[in-house]
């Protein structure tokens, strides 16, 4: 087990260094000048703008050679300092992310977990019941194939614009102050439903299809025939099949945690939902190097951490993997 862990940790550290380096380079390859964009809001004082541009280029260290910026960046990252946002000047990036993160967690965790549970359940059901399967499969395929933003726009159009059941944007109404009151929670949940649904439903399709295929495969396996020959109840058979079918789904969960970030960005943009995805979008549009770096850093860490957990859980759950590493 220790060897397994050691090897994994080395791989994770290398991945982290590589990802952070890319995170540093990519925004700097974009055309344009972030300070100039920032100061374009201040056009009425031409001479001052010219002067301030030089001042802030220096203040942000953007006049230094790239390798020097890179070293400074790593030093800061290791100190937990993500710098000051250019676009949201002079707010620290760490604070922006800290304020946005709760909105992500409140949207992501429930949608991933709920879609995983419901999707697996529905998939198993469909795999067992051929008649139901023929109705459910097209729905699953439709859901899985929908891009997040497209599905989000569809939901927004139907439930918000046409039926006016849910609000179109934001995390809560403009006229309400966040507090632990019933009125606020109700208002918050009201705004939460549509972004949640678009993430939940799209992911649901994928889980259900995966589970359904696995169940059908497992039901054909020798051990199932053996159990049937022994005269086990359908319940017992399903329990064993389900357990075996779950393993790939857990791996899938890890991968999904990585992919969801991309989907989450578009959903948040559609609903102007103030999470990391939305902030990241604004950072990119305004070339805010530090904000882009910060957001990606959080995403990288989250994905790595999620994968790491799954790796460990996998070793614990699947006896084959455990055996391989304990012996080796």
């Amino acid at each position: 087990m220790m060897n397994y862990l050691k090897r994994k940790i080395v791989i994770y550290i290398l991945t982290f260094i590589f990802a952070v380096t890319i995170d540093f380079i990519i925004p700097r390859l974009m055309p344009g000048d972030p300070i100039a964009v920032l100061l374009s809001r201040f056009a009425t004082m031409p001479q001052a703008t010219q002067y301030l541009h030089g001042y802030f280029i220096e203040a942000f260290g953007l006049n230094k050679p790239l390798w020097e910026q890179y070293i400074t960046f790593w030093k800061a990252v290791l100190h937990g300092d993500l710098g000051i946002s250019i676009y949201f000047y002079p707010k620290p990036v760490a604070q922006i992310i800290k304020e946005a993160l709760p909105y992500d967690l409140a949207l992501l965790v429930p949608s991933i977990v709920a879609s995983w549970i419901v999707g697996n359940w529905l998939g198993a059901y469909a795999g067992k019941n051929r008649k139901l399967d023929s109705y459910l499969m097209p729905v699953f395929f439709f859901l899985q194939a929908s891009p997040y933003f497209w599905f989000a726009i569809l939901l927004a159009y139907i439930f918000s614009v046409k039926l006016e059941l849910f609000p179109l944007s934001g995390a809560y109404s403009y006229g309400i102050i966040p507090s632990l009151s019933w009125a606020f929670i109700k208002d918050y949940l009201h705004h939460w439903v549509l972004p949640f649904l678009s993430l939940f439903l799209v992911q649901l399709g994928g889980w259900a299809i995966g589970m359904r295929n696995m169940i059908i495969y497992e039901l054909e396996a020798d051990y199932v025939r053996y159990l049937e020959a022994l005269g086990s109840s359908e319940r017992t058979v399903m329990r064993h099949a389900f357990k075996n079918a779950m393993l790939p789904q857990i791996t899938g969960l890890a991968l999904q945690l990585g992919l969801i970030v991309a989907g989450n960005v578009t959903v948040q943009v559609v609903f102007s939902y103030p999470g990391i995805g939305y902030i990241l979008m604004q950072g990119i549009l305004n070339q805010d190097y530090f904000l882009i770096q910060g957001c990606f850093l959080v995403i990288i860490l989250t994905v790595l951490a999620a994968n790491f957990i799954i790796d460990i859980m996998y070793a614990l759950i699947d006896p084959r993997i455990k055996a391989a590493y304990v012996e080796g």
Binding site: P46, Y55, P102, G175, S272, I309
Partner: protein, 622 residues
């Protein structure tokens, strides 16, 4: 198991959001006392530092912090605000007398020392916006508590007029303890002298609450709304739907379909007929005067004749904008009208005349040699130009489509292009473009010099080096440089007028850029909760709430609008809300400091922490 998961999900939802919210009392802002405003906030409100006005959120200057003077563009009047009066006591000394009884929001008196301190901050910190005024301002003298003298080495009369209503005064007793005012976000508890205090901010809005101890009540009365909620609205369509539902009271967005909205919902605009709005600035077609054939004034003139601004106004903005005068000057406003050189316009001005455009082009030798319908250079080289505007700016995108169609009629091949904003701005300021639309600095201002200094500024850098002044096409003319300098430092109004006249004549003859339309001062107000909005029939204020415009009329709007339903029991709730203000403004301070220490990566940290749990469990078992 399932139940447990359900509880976990619920807990995540609730703690995720409420974790950082202190359990305060339930509060919904009373609708009849709250004014919802939108149109001037485009990113999270997180900077209330009036000394960095390009980054400060709208309302920081004007509502929380105040300037010595306000400016009324409708009557061209510098209105004394913190100042009671201001005058030139000699050619290079400007004396300001402050009003009596000025106080800061924390109760301390606002004196001449604060004014001196504020101006000297700009000298001390080069990162502050108006640092460069110290190149011609020599000294700020405090004569007594209410009198200040500004002594100039070279008085820049025009620039000074602008600064008088731009520089917000900050309290010395607070700002002298601030390490670096350039990096000071000032969100925790900004203390200004204005009629409103900051109540709360979050990612989508900020809320201001009325300062009932405002010094100005005895001079101007009390502003009507108790709360102002300034919201970010990300699209014009969303603004429209909020407006008609009564969720937005005062909108400064370009809203499509204004006539229908007016007829159906009684929405108030400045004019009842097209163009519905006052002009806010001039949108120019900038031509790169360093690139052939655009370096030829006659070629530029041909383009000017070929463009029909009427069609642009109709197609791009549904006639909510008007075609610009050949000078581009905002002659609807008295400050511009009084310097307007009508004779020169009659003599050298242009109007839509494609026939004439073709004649000029023929004469210049630009002819269609290869028969593809487009003209070539006289030496036969193909001629193809591009126009750029930022992607997503739909009205401008339509504008350049129309322009390229119109230029095609006279045989000039122009391709409209839509780069991302940052790329557009980079190309524009580095001179890597043929034609571009822009209007950023051509605003309604107290002095047309400001306007000219943007569009014709002569500190031109070579192509490839950034240049942010409005003279994006890098038009060079020594006489223009002289005139801009002369107008700024000339005290004699008559001489100044002659310089202005000459400047316009040069502009019309040389035609470095083509004024296309006057962009609107978009203003739509809902009469559902508030009435007595300013209109052309009741023109008490310039109705714009954008950043930098509150001291040009926004505050007056607040002083004059009236609630539809009179608020009940305001006096009883007052004390209660006072205490809430306290709790709310104190808590962010704590979260702000703790966040810088933890680095905002708590989420991943928790996940990493969770990873250890199975390990520990595992070890215990074996």
């Amino acid at each position: 198991m399932k139940r447990l998961v359900g509880v976990l999900i619920g807990a995540f939802v609730i703690f995720g959001v409420f974790g950082q919210v202190v359990a305060a009392q339930e509060q919904e802002l009373p609708r009849e006392e709250t004014l919802y405003v939108g149109g001037g906030l485009w990113s999270q409100p997180n900077n209330f530092n009036p000394l960095i006005p390009w980054s400060a959120v709208t309302g920081t200057i004007g509502l929380i912090y105040e300037t010595l003077f306000n400016y009324d563009p409708l009557n061209d009047k510098l209105e004394p605000w913190l100042a009671e009066s201001g005058r030139w006591v000699s050619d290079n000394v400007y004396e300001v007398k402050l009003r009596e009884g000025l106080t800061w929001q924390d109760g301390k008196p606002l004196t001449a020392e604060d004014v001196k301190f504020t101006f000297e901050l700009h000298k001390k910190y080069p990162g502050l916006a108006y640092h460069q005024m110290w190149e011609w301002l020599q000294e700020v003298k405090v004569i007594d508590d209410r009198t200040i003298q500004f002594v100039f080495s070279t008085p820049h009369y025009e620039e000074w007029k602008y600064l008088l209503y731009q520089i917000a005064i900050v309290p010395k007793h607070i700002w002298q303890n601030i390490d670096n005012p350039v990096e000071f976000a000032n969100v925790d508890n900004p203390v200004g002298s204005g009629p409103y205090k900051l109540y709360k901010t979050d990612q989508m809005r900020f809320i201001l609450v009325r300062n009932d101890n405002w010094w100005g009540i005895k001079y101007f009365g009390k502003p009507a709304p108790k709360y102002i909620v300034y919201v970010i609205v990300y699209s014009n369509n969303l603004a429209l739907s909020m407006l008609v539902k009564g969720e937005l009271d005062w909108s400064n967005f370009f809203i499509p379909g204004v006539p229908d909205v007016k007829a159906q919902y009684g929405i108030v605009t400045w004019y009842d007929e097209p163009p519905y709005h006052l002009p806010a600035n001039t949108a120019f077609l900038f031509l790169n005067t360093q690139k052939p054939p655009l370096d030829n004034p006659e070629f530029r003139r041909a383009i000017a004749y070929a463009i029909n601004p009427e069609e642009i106004a109709a197609r791009a903005s549904q006639n909510q904008v008007t075609p610009a005068d050949p000078t581009g000057l905002l002659i609807q406003y008295p400050a511009f009208k009084k310097i307007y050189n009508k004779e020169a316009v009659d003599k050298y001005g242009f109007k839509y005349d494609p026939q004439k455009a073709m004649e000029i082009l023929d004469k210049l030798g630009f002819k269609d040699v290869n028969g593809d319908g487009y003209r070539e250079f006289p030496d036969g080289k193909p001629l193809k130009l591009t126009i750029i505007v930022p992607f997503g700016w739909t009205d401008w995108m339509e504008m350049i489509r129309v322009i390229s169609e119109q230029l095609a009629i006279v045989g000039i091949n122009v391709e409209p292009k839509f780069p991302d904003y940052s790329k557009y701005w980079d190309d524009l300021t580095k001179g890597n473009f043929d034609m571009a639309i822009n209007n950023f600095g051509s605003n309604v201002v107290a002095t047309p010099w400001q306007w000219f200094n943007w569009v014709l500024n002569q500190d031109v850098t070579p192509i490839g080096e950034n240049f942010y002044n409005g003279n994006f096409g890098r038009y060079k003319n020594e006489r223009v440089a002289e005139l801009l300098e002369l107008i700024n430092v000339e005290k004699d109004e008559n001489k100044k007028l002659q310089y202005y006249y000459e400047l316009q004549e040069i502009f019309l003859k040389d035609l470095p850029y083509i004024p296309i339309i006057y962009n609107g001062a978009w203003f739509e107000a809902s009469p559902e909760h508030w009435t007595n909005w300013p209109t052309a029939k009741n023109p008490y204020a310039f109705p714009i709430s954008w950043n930098g415009y509150w001291q040009m009329g926004g505050v007056k709007v607040l002083l004059n609008i009236k609630p539809v339903k009179a608020a009940t029991e305001t006096t009883t709730t007052e004390e209660k809300t006072e205490t809430i203000v306290q709790t709310v403004t104190v808590t962010p301070t704590e979260t702000a400091t703790s966040s810088t220490e933890t680095g905002g990566i708590c989420g991943p940290a928790i996940l990493v922490g969770l990873a250890v749990v199975p390990l520990l469990l595992r070890r215990r078992r074996s």
